[in-house]
């Protein structure tokens, strides 16, 4: 029986108040005032679709057998690299080994579900367990409606053929080149057509037949659907499609529009994970994904669902929330306005790709060493053991640090060094099993750090080399309390 064996979710902690966006921009477009309530998730300056996917993947893999994962598929329309395997970076960050199949899926908001259907077929053919990632960091023009409605977020699903928590029942896809919006090659922003046309000619005409075909394949009556997940921000559309199909209005799930916003290609799966966190065994979850056609899928929660180890999922990620009302900060983080960054920001951030390759265990996987002579755990892994009473040579084996909890030994909040979000917090973090590192901190509130504070390592953007358009990643320490598991 093929299906989902585990899930994970990630929504960035920062939630930009829509009122802040409207207050700044309604002078030029008073129609924005209609969306002045609630908030949307925004990435911290050091987050993107890859870092969010890695976090979702870690959540998904908690308590699961990482060594058994045979494939990583990754869907996004906002990959940091057009030509460098993004799924491969995620796989290295997650320490999944090199003996895996990888695939990036893109070019449509429907990629998240289309890739998932393909992934499930791979698993059916014996290619699992497969880690499926979907993530989008949606860049929008300032003062646009999209800026209010879009959000950033990621999900991860582990797919397998043994004891799924949700069984894959059926899927149906329709490909129709209905261009409600598009983003041409090299463009930063979407170009969108009129909403009324999208609603009446798009959603209303394309989705219902696809869902009807799906139910027929699944041999289900509409009334049997307990969770109806249709990510559409146009008001009333999901309910009207459900009604037209015969699905009860109470089954229509919150599209999380006012909590994280529409997270793009991840959003159907964000809603799926959110539904799984509410579902009981036997519940049937339908997802309808729109984008140059429609993907429709049905999953059925199984008796294994309540036994899955507790994890953050989307609910935990939504609860881990830091309100942000500084619209200018959001503009600056996203390079939507040219800010003065000072001469210190001009240091060349060139990367030696050969060094990155040689040291990818440390740089991407946060792998250190463990001395086989004295047991000292240390990072970076080195030729000679750091323990002054040992100093054994060539004695270390790989030791992953990313999931080892740490504590702050010393710290500062630095206003001199360049940071896109000053002050730059960093300090010495000591790991529970041994080893320590002077590392950058992230997701820190000013004044909140103390010596002894528990920290958790997170995969983030270290710097962006604008001259060569190369994003550098490394691990940072974030306060652990904020990443506590919920649900």
């Amino acid at each position: 029986m093929v299906g989902i064996t585990s899930f994970g979710g990630y929504i960035p902690r920062l939630r930009l108040s829509r009122k802040a966006i409207v207050d700044a921009n309604s002078w030029q477009n008073s129609a924005l005032k209609a969306y002045a309530k609630a908030e949307r998730a925004i990435c911290n300056w050091d987050e993107d679709s890859l870092t969010m996917a890695v976090e979702a993947g870690r959540d998904c893999l908690s308590g699961q057998d990482r060594a058994g994962v045979k494939a990583v598929y990754f869907a996004s329309t906002t990959f940091p690299f057009d030509d460098r395997l993004n799924a491969g970076i995620a796989a290295e960050a997650l320490n999944l080994g090199s003996d895996i199949t990888t695939l990036d899926v893109s070019a449509s908001l429907r990629a998240g579900t289309s890739g998932l259907i393909a992934a499930l077929k791979t698993v059916q053919a014996g290619g699992g367990p497969l880690l499926y990632l979907a993530s989008d960091k949606r860049r929008t023009k300032a003062a646009s409606q999209q800026e209010l409605l879009y959000g950033d977020g990621a999900v991860a699903l582990l797919l397998g053929d043994k004891d799924p928590i949700a069984k894959f029942v059926a899927s149906h896809s329709e490909a129709i080149d209905f261009v409600d919006h598009y983003r041409g090659h090299g463009s930063d922003f979407d170009y969108a057509w009129e909403e009324r046309w999208i609603r009446d000619e798009g959603y209303a005409k394309i989705v219902p037949p696809a869902l009807a075909a799906l139910l027929e394949k699944a041999k289900l009556k509409p009334g049997e659907i307990t969770h109806f997940c249709m990510p559409v921000t146009l008001r009333g559309v999901a309910v009207s499609v459900a009604k037209k199909l015969g699905v009860g209005e109470t089954a229509v799930r919150d599209n999380l529009d006012g909590q994280c916003g529409d997270t793009g290609t991840s959003h159907p799966l964000v809603m799926l994970v959110h539904a799984l966190q509410d579902a009981k065994p036997g519940d049937k979850i339908l997802i309808a994904s729109f984008g140059q056609g429609c993907d429709a899928m049905v999953f059925e929660a199984t008796a294994a669902l309540p036994k899955l180890e507790r994890r953050s999922g989307i609910k935990g990620a939504l609860a881990r929330r830091k309100p942000e009302t500084n619209y200018n900060k959001y503009l600056s983080f996203n390079n939507l306005v040219t800010t003065e960054k000072g001469l210190r920001s001009e240091v060349d951030k060139w990367t030696a790709l050969s060094t990155l390759f040689r040291k990818r265990g440390l740089l991407t996987g946060l792998i250190g060493g463990k001395c086989t002579k004295c047991g000292t755990v240390q990072i970076p892994k080195s030729n000679i053991c750091v323990n002054p009473n040992c100093n054994a040579i060539h004695s270390q084996e790989d030791h992953p640090f990313s999931d080892i909890p740490g504590r702050v030994n010393s710290y500062t909040a630095d206003l001199l060094t360049f940071s896109p979000d000053p002050p730059a917090h960093y300090g010495m973090v000591q790991f529970a099993e041994g080893g320590r590192m002077m590392v950058d901190f992230t997701d820190v509130d000013q004044g909140a750090i103390q010596v002894g504070m528990p920290m958790r390592m997170v995969f983030r953007i270290k710097e962006h080399d604008a001259q060569r358009n190369f994003t550098k990643y490394f691990w940072k320490a974030a306060p652990a309390a904020q990443t506590a598991k919920e649900n």
């Binding site: 240091v347 500062t412 909040a413 630095d414 001199l416 300090g427 010495m428 320590r436």
Partner: protein, 401 residues
């Protein structure tokens, strides 16, 4: 232990440029300024110099690499010239090279010159630069104040000190150094400041405010060394000789092993212990007359008082507040203003510290001259970060042979 360097080498002459924002000077101008004073003081012809060492740390913003810039600036006659770099302790390294050359007999007279021209970056503070290809890929994006500031967090946690009490002791250190700098015509910063000014200054890296940080300066300093015998033969009567030169370098224990709590300098403790042994000093608190330490930040000076075994562990705040290290205290620290106010042209700083000791020993320190006839002067020159650094401790004193 090896016999050591004690009294094998004497200082023949020293010079030091004015430190500060020398907008109108190139590095070679500063080198010549320090050299002219030193060679005149030594009373020899340039041709008597057998070998030379040049110290610069951030050569990429001024002279570039190698010993060539020194040979060119001074027109040295095809003698060996070596450029050394060991972070902010580079000046002490040049001195060590010259002293060891003389002690070995390879050179009769050797020159050490440190120079740094830092003010051509377009911004305040030290130049931002690469930490090496791999290091730049994973090190925290540290600045100097940000890395040293962490001493304060760890010191507070270890000794249970209230943030305000530590900050006050740090402020006392800066006020004291400004008082001292005001009496030094070559100092970069010659203004006196009040506790209020220091405590209310803008924050740079918590808890270090602007006045907890030393000046970033242009400048050069120079020493010419020889044996006591040659110095005497050249007519020198009062000699200042080298008693100890020690260097301790981090090997990763502080930064990667879990034995260090972040509140002190492991290297300084080792280097100072070895230096006292080399110089024959049993009780540094009683025997050392003057100290010039690497006060890049006020907190560095505070914890260094303990690491030099002069204040007891956890006792530096009390000694500082009691005025023990003030210019009229028992062991004055930074009587010339220190890095804080004399300034910190990196490659010059170690030599500038020796320069002050030399002047004080010979009674030539002018308005800031210590009256009680100093015997041993200790200089402490540190480079890098608290968790990963090089520490040089040198002791000079009156030659009693």
């Amino acid at each position: 232990m090896a016999k050591g360097i004690k009294d094998k080498v004497a200082i023949l002459g020293m010079g030091c440029s004015k430190f500060g924002e020398r907008w109108d000077k190139e590095a070679d101008d500063l080198m010549v300024e320090a050299f002219e004073e030193a060679i005149k003081d030594a009373g020899i012809e340039k041709s008597r110099i057998d070998a030379a060492w040049l110290a610069t740390a951030i050569e990429e913003v001024h002279v570039g690499k190698s010993g060539v810039p020194l040979a060119m600036a001074l027109r040295l006659p095809y003698i060996p010239v070596t450029r050394v770099e060991n972070y902010c302790a580079s000046g002490s390294e040049a001195f060590r090279g010259a002293v060891y050359a003389v002690a070995s007999g390879a050179a009769d007279i050797a020159l050490a010159l440190g120079v740094e021209k830092l003010k051509d970056t377009g911004y305040g503070g030290l130049p931002q630069r690469s930490r090496g290809v791999l290091n730049s890929m994973f090190w925290a994006n540290v600045s100097a104040p940000g890395s040293f500031a962490q001493l304060a967090a760890a010191y507070r946690a270890k000794h249970g000190v209230a943030a305000e009490d530590l900050k006050k002791a740090m402020a006392h250190i800066s006020v004291k150094s400004h008082d001292n700098g005001s009496k030094n015509p070559k100092a970069h910063l010659r203004n006196k400041v009040t506790m209020d000014t220091v405590l209310n200054a803008p924050m740079v890296a918590e808890p270090l405010g602007l006045f907890d940080c030393c000046g970033v300066s242009d400048g050069a300093a120079c020493a010419i060394v020889t044996t006591p015998e040659i110095a005497r033969s050249l007519g020198k009567k009062d000699l200042v000789s080298v008693k100890a030169l020690q260097l301790a370098v981090s090997n990763g224990v502080e930064s990667q092993y879990n034995s260090w709590d972040g509140s002190y300098f492991a290297t300084t403790r080792v280097a100072s212990t070895r230096a006292y042994q080399e110089a024959g000093i049993k009780n540094p608190r009683e025997e050392v007359s003057l100290i010039e330490v690497h006060d890049c930040f006020s907190i560095t000076e505070l914890v260094t008082m303990e690491d030099l075994h002069i204040s007891p562990e956890g006792g530096a705040i009390k000694d500082v507040m009691d005025g023990f290290y003030d210019s009229d205290g028992k062991v004055p620290c930074q009587i010339d203003g220190g890095l804080k106010c004399f300034g910190h042209p990196i490659g010059s700083s170690g030599l500038r510290m020796i320069y002050e000791m030399y002047l004080q020993m010979l009674g030539r320190a002018g308005e800031r001259q210590r009256k009680d006839n100093p015997r041993f002067g200790l200089t402490h020159n540190l480079g890098g970060f608290p968790h990963q650094n090089v520490c040089s401790v040198s002791i000079v004193g009156r030659y009693e042979g």
